[in-house]
């Protein structure tokens, strides 16, 4: 009798399990195609005029690795002005040239375009930046004898963050020369409890291979891994996080122990078309009441079932 009862339970449980599988499959087939992923605003191209300027930022000593870090310590620039300022130049630079520096980058290079695209889907993406400089006629001879780096400074809103440890891993793999993340680097908190941050990435420029192509153009591609935080809840299915225009700085030095002279390249103020948009799924405040209720009921029901089963088993033992 007991074995029949056990078989009955097993059969009915098996039927229930199979029913669940079928209904879950139907839900998946019906539900998944009706959700659309976001596709707009994930790329932006900024064209700079021929009259775009370069501005001397500072002379970075050879012992210093990061511009922002040096500016905050040496010149006392507050981090907030770097993070929240519209442009980086007045906030990190002292505009002092390096001694014995003969290179005038402004007369050799001019920024032509900055293309940015958000690659990937979901909450973990790459911000791919392609920066193109024009090299003037007198440029190659001077550039060959200098070692230079592109310094990309990207400000991030609270809805997006970069993982400093992930970036350090890329440094160890040789993708970047150096990297720094300043501001709110908390990886766990949602956007409502987080602040903005700024990333400074140093990428080496190999003049020999660039100039060997005989094109008077310097194109550098940088891919930054970024992660979305949970946005504030809203009425829409997705919240939009904007990634503003980054700042491009070229730092060059002649010898390995020399100081680096850093010049900022830019043009007009960033416009709305220069913003890359990242749409992140967010919770709906309409769900709040019934999610709380059903969660509490489910937990209570499960607890009661376990309590009853334990009393039942305790009595039968």
């Amino acid at each position: 009798m007991a074995s029949h009862h056990r078989i009955h339970i097993s059969c009915s449980s098996l039927r229930g399990f199979i029913s669940f599988l079928i209904s879950a499959s139907l839900v998946i087939c019906v539900a998944v195609p009706s959700y659309a992923t976001e596709v707009n605003g994930t790329y932006a191209t900024t064209y700079f005029h021929e009259s775009s300027t370069s501005t001397l930022v500072c002379c970075l000593p050879s012992s210093e690795k990061l511009l922002i870090d040096y500016a905050m310590r040496k010149h006392g620039f507050p981090l907030d002005s770097v993070i929240y300022g519209s442009t980086i130049v007045p906030n990190i630079g002292s505009q002092e040239p390096c001694k014995q520096m003969e290179l005038n980058l402004g007369s050799i290079l001019s920024l032509r375009t900055l293309r940015r695209q958000l690659i990937g889907q979901g909450s973990h993406r790459q911000l791919a930046s392609s920066i193109v400089f024009d090299i003037q006629a007198n440029g190659p001879d001077q550039l060959r004898v200098h070692s230079c780096e592109l310094v990309l400074i990207q400000r991030l809103q609270s809805g997006v963050f970069a993982d400093p440890f992930e970036l350090q891993h890329l440094v160890r793999r040789g993708v970047f020369v150096d990297v720094g993340v300043f501001g709110d680097t908390n990886l766990e908190l949602p956007s409502a409890h987080s602040g903005q941050s700024v990333i400074e990435v140093h990428v080496s420029i190999d003049w020999d291979s660039i100039l060997a192509r005989q094109k008077r153009e310097l194109e550098i591609a940088v891919e930054l891994p970024l992660h979305a935080r949970y946005p504030p809840i809203g009425e829409d299915s997705h919240a939009t996080v904007e990634i503003v225009l980054s700042d491009s700085i070229i730092c060059c030095k002649r010898g390995s122990i020399d100081d680096k002279e850093c010049s900022w390249f830019g043009g007009a103020e960033a416009t709305t078309s220069d913003v890359v948009q990242w749409r992140v799924p967010c919770g709906n405040e309409v769900h709040s009441v019934y999610v709380s209720t059903i969660t509490a009921l489910s937990a209570s029901l499960s607890a009661l079932v376990i309590v009853y089963a334990s009393l039942y088993a305790s009595k039968s033992k």
Binding site: M1, A2, H5, R6, I9, S10, S13, L14, F17, L21, A24, A31, V32, Y35, T37, E38, Q121, G122, S123, H124, F165, T185, E188, P190, A192, H193, Y230, I233, S237, H238, R279, P281, C282, G283, N284, E285, H287, S288, V291, S292, I294, T295, A296, S298, A299, S300, S302, A303, V305, I306, V307, Y308, A309, S310, L311, Y312, A313, S314, K315, S316
Partner: protein
């Protein structure tokens, strides 16, 4: 007994024939003098029952004799079984070694790393500690400094040192499981099957080889059980205080361990008597099936409380006081030491964070979406307490119902604790996987089909959740509601599996109640 029947019993050769002959004799008796018919009928029935019992015992003896002739000698048997356990340990060690080396290759050559992010956190904290800095300088390091100390050789010896330590702990768990089961006289084959459930469980061998520290916690908990089984109370208390400092969740075991240390069962410095596994122990399924009775929840609760109230008065014993005080002292010592060294940062990150942790990001817990929807406004004190209510309700009932069968009680407590937690990650499953082999020899559940159904349902519920989680996190689809419903389904699956396990478990206290044994002897 009738001499004729006695003679027949003594000359039994063929059990089948004996049964027929017995029935014939019984019929003959029943056809006897009608004046003595009733008395003879009663006697005949009694004698039939006696004969049947005797026949059954003789059949069993014959079967055992045949089995013995088939079985090899004891020495060769021991050699074979030792080889089997050695083979299991050796092969599982090779699997782990392969995975560690493969993980190193994947980390170097592929974008997606095999190593868990936690291992990198541990290693960074260890290198900070090696350079005389606080391990809490590493963001998201939320463990005892003991763990960072263990991994200091990562900095100067090899980065894989920690993974080897965790994998060795993993193997140690397998060995401790085997030892505990042998102490309870579980047959060798059953021991090996149970240990295989840990050593070759994909969850467990990937956890250690990816660099997660849970195997160390599991080994400590099993060692505590073993110390209790050997009567080493102070040693058990020491390790319990240490494991609670290391990882807070074992605090839920405190009441069940204390209840197990009954004065009749356990005396300090004396090896307690253990209930052994036995072939003749029939399962709980009998003619008096509990399903026929109507269980009144209120009556059962009242009886349980009454019974337990009486026992509470008898709870204060020397062994319990020793265990409680000693484990508290050990916990306070380690906590105090690291507070002295690292200050509030240690307390906040290693202890208080875990007590108040709520994570709005998606995880297996049913609470994640509720927490996310209300994270901007926060929760009131009443709401926080209400959300703890299921946990607070379930744990005492499990403890008071099953504390005697300590491994089973700890297993159920852990499953319930994980299921009702505010945050559930996959590594938490290891907490009850290490206790599962200790209850397998006492389950009447067959792999086909109930066992397979439990496994499939639990795994399917996880895969279902992972599918929605993937769509949310890696495809950017707004599937919060679906993911939350999947969490509820996962809770339902956990609940159902717990109920089925409880239903099929042969309750057997860990320790023999010496008082009732003495009373039986007197009788």
């Amino acid at each position: 007994m009738c001499p004729y029947i006695t003679h027949q019993v003594d000359n039994i050769r063929n059990p089948n024939e004996t049964t027929d002959e017995t029935n014939e004799v019984a019929m003959d008796l029943l056809k006897g003098d009608p004046r003595n018919k009733n008395r003879e009928q009663a006697d005949a029935q009694t004698e039939i029952k006696d004969l049947k019992l005797t026949n059954w015992l003789k059949e069993k003896a014959l079967d055992e004799e045949k089995d013995k002739q088939k079985m090899p000698s004891i020495n060769s048997l021991i050699a074979m079984t030792s080889m089997s356990m050695c083979f299991l340990m050796g092969s599982s060690a090779l699997v782990r070694l392969f995975l560690i080396l493969y993980g190193q290759w994947q980390d170097t050559h592929m974008e997606v790393r095999y190593t868990d992010i936690d291992y990198i956190v541990f290693s960074d904290a260890a290198s900070l500690m090696a350079s005389n800095s606080s391990p809490f300088g590493r963001t998201t390091y939320r463990y005892s400094p003991l763990l960072a100390f263990l991994l200091i050789p990562n900095s100067f010896l090899h980065p894989l040192w920690g993974k080897f330590i965790f994998s060795v702990a993993d193997l140690l768990v397998g060995y401790l499981l085997y030892s505990i089961l042998k102490m309870r006289a579980v047959p060798e084959r059953l021991c090996l099957y149970s240990v295989v459930a840990w050593l070759f469980n994909p969850f467990t061998f990937t956890i250690g080889t990816r660099g997660n520290c849970e195997p160390i916690v599991c080994a400590m908990i099993l060692w505590i059980i073993m110390c209790l089984m050997n009567g080493n109370l102070k040693q058990a208390a020491f390790w319990y205080g240490l494991v609670v400092h290391f990882r807070i969740y074992p605090i839920i075991y405190s009441l069940s361990i204390v209840l197990t240390l009954d004065a009749h069962n356990f005396r300090a410095n004396q090896k307690p008597l253990l209930h052994s596994w036995s072939y003749d122990n029939k399962p709980n399924i009998s003619e008096k099936s509990p399903t026929r009775e109507t269980i009144s929840l209120w009556n059962a609760y009242r009886n349980l409380v009454t019974d337990r109230c009486v026992r509470i008065r008898q709870m204060i014993t020397k062994e319990r006081i020793i265990f409680g005080l000693f484990s508290c002292t050990v916990f306070c010592f380690w906590t105090g030491l690291f507070y002295y060294l690292y200050g509030w940062e240690f307390l906040n990150e290693a202890l208080l964070y875990h007590l108040t942790r709520t994570d709005p990001r998606h995880n297996f817990s049913i609470y994640f979406y509720d927490i996310y929807l209300r994270h901007e406004h926060g929760f009131s004190l009443v709401e926080r307490l209400l959300s703890f209510l299921p946990q607070l309700m379930v744990q005492p009932f499990l403890v008071f119902s099953f504390a005697g069968d300590l491994p089973f009680c700890l297993f159920l407590q852990t499953v319930a604790f994980v299921a009702f937690n505010k945050v559930i990650t996959a590594q938490y499953f290891v907490w009850f996987f290490c206790l599962l082999p200790l209850i397998l020899p006492w389950t009447t559940m067959k792999l086909r089909w109930t066992g397979l159904l439990c496994i499939c349902l639990w795994v399917a519920a996880q895969i279902h959740w992972l599918m929605w989680g993937y769509l949310l996190e890696f495809k950017g689809m707004n599937v919060f509601i679906e993911l939350w419903l999947a969490s509820i389904f996962f809770l339902a699956a956990n609940t159902w599996v717990m109920v089925v396990i409880m239903k099929h478990h042969k309750f057997l206290p860990l320790f023999v109640d010496s008082k009732s044994t003495a009373e039986k002897k007197i009788d």
